[in-house]
Subunit: 237 residues, 2 copies
DNA sequence: ATTCAAGTGTGATTTTTATCACATCTTCCT
DNA sequence: AGGAAGATGTGATAAAAATCACACTTGAAT
């Protein structure tokens, strides 16, 4: 579960109402996590939501054969964690701070009280959760149905929507991502990602700017992943 | 969005409370859809939920290059449709009846009234939606990270959980699925699926029974897709 | 029972992706 | 500034998956 409470760079996120927002703020307490440290581990009890006041978090999972993959990346203003239903009371993934983070922690039971009392807040949360579900669905589609190049293209488009800014007449992705991380995100090897990126660069579709990815021809990327033109709220990391 | 209100064959689905269930039943009306017909099309306004009283529905999407893939398959007792947030007011996929269906239709606004009035029902719906999100997340993982053979194995396991029954000392999947459909589900070609299945059969992992798939060695399948041992509520179609 | 359409099975070949093995480039640490 | 660790870039090769082409089965319909 993830949602964005406010936004800085992002132009395209759904907002909780002021009322809900302040209700949440009332019940959260602050926690600091240094870069490289973990907010929680696989197997920990999943009874909290986390609101990122500052920093980047990635959710990862390691497989039996020692590989790791990235389930999600969150930024300033995002809210994530399981509103654990009845049964899955443990996280099935790790949450690592990519940068130093300031986190607002919300106890599930505190939240539940609010939801119970205020049907309209619960409905708002419900719609939000539905939106997240749509995001996940669309990722599933993009990562599964058009090969690794399609998966990569789609991911770059999503990064542009989530972390992009205009730069000259290009889009600059303001977040540095390693080739290996992209690989862990789309289920490909570092080398494959590297080669695909090199290829997109020689074709003039992508560029470089001081280590940041520039998108030169976003339509070409859309063609590769058979972009459906989803609303920006859905086409995001 | 999909949830199962009750179950017949399925051993492993989360239940809405009686109260919620009857509240839903009160506001739904009935619709019949013949096999091969569509319940709705991509682009139709998404302002309803659908409860399958009887039959099978698949959600499909066709790409620009004429291919089709399957997003989801639903059965007796499942509830699906978008509780459209504020903005994505259209379906982005088609819903086709695989068999003759009897559908209970719930208008979104009717539902919303109930949720508003009864915070506890809204919370229940919220948890359910979260569960669906977890299901989708786990599918994303399974379909992305261990190749097409892993995707296929995971899908067979999910089918066993959703439509399986004991047969001798095997599990028989009581729903016939075509190779091509499996391909559309996991993002592989019919031929690849066919070869993979043949391979699993020669290895003795799968069997045949009158056109139905038999699972002989489920542990082997789990090994292939690096099964995490998710709860049955999550490891389903 | 015969026919036709739909589905399955398989070979040959090409394309995509992973693997292994290094060289090079960057970063950042003292 | 120098050196180590972490990233990136790339070749050679192997494995996985798609594509094309066609034979074989099955099942439903006349």
């Amino acid at each position: 579960m993830s949602l964005t409470l406010d936004r800085t760079i992002q132009q395209n996120t759904f907002h909780l109402s002021e009322k809900t927002l302040s209700a949440l703020t009332d019940i959260m307490y602050e926690q600091h996590v240094d870069a490289g440290k973990y907010l929680f581990w696989e197997g920990d009890t999943a009874d909290k939501l986390f609101y990122i006041k500052e920093g980047h978090i990635k959710l990862t999972k390691s497989t039996s054969d020692g590989k790791e993959y990235i389930l999600n990346m969150f930024d300033n203003g995002d809210l994530f964690g399981e509103l654990s239903s009845f049964m899955s009371i443990n996280y099935s993934y790790n949450a690592m701070a990519i940068t130093d983070c300031v986190i607002g922690v919300i106890q599930q039971k505190d939240l539940e009280v609010i939801l119970w009392q205020h049907g309209e807040i619960a409905v708002e949360f419900l719609k939000w959760t539905q939106l997240l579900n749509q995001i996940t669905q669309s990722k599933l589609r993009d990562l599964t149905f058009h090969g690794k190049l399609g998966a990569l293209s789609s991911t770059i488009i999503r990064m542009a929507n989530s972390y992009g800014e205009p730069f000259d007449r290009y889009i600059r992705i303001t977040k540095k991502v390693k080739n290996g991380e992209l690989g862990e995100y789309i289920g490909a090897t570092r080398e494959s990602v590297n080669r695909m990126l090199a290829d997109l660069r020689t074709k003039g579709i992508l560029g470089q700017e001081n280590g940041y990815i520039l998108i030169n021809d976003i339509q070409a990327l859309k063609d590769i992943c058979h972009c459906e033109g989803c609303p920006l709220e859905i086409c995001r990391m």
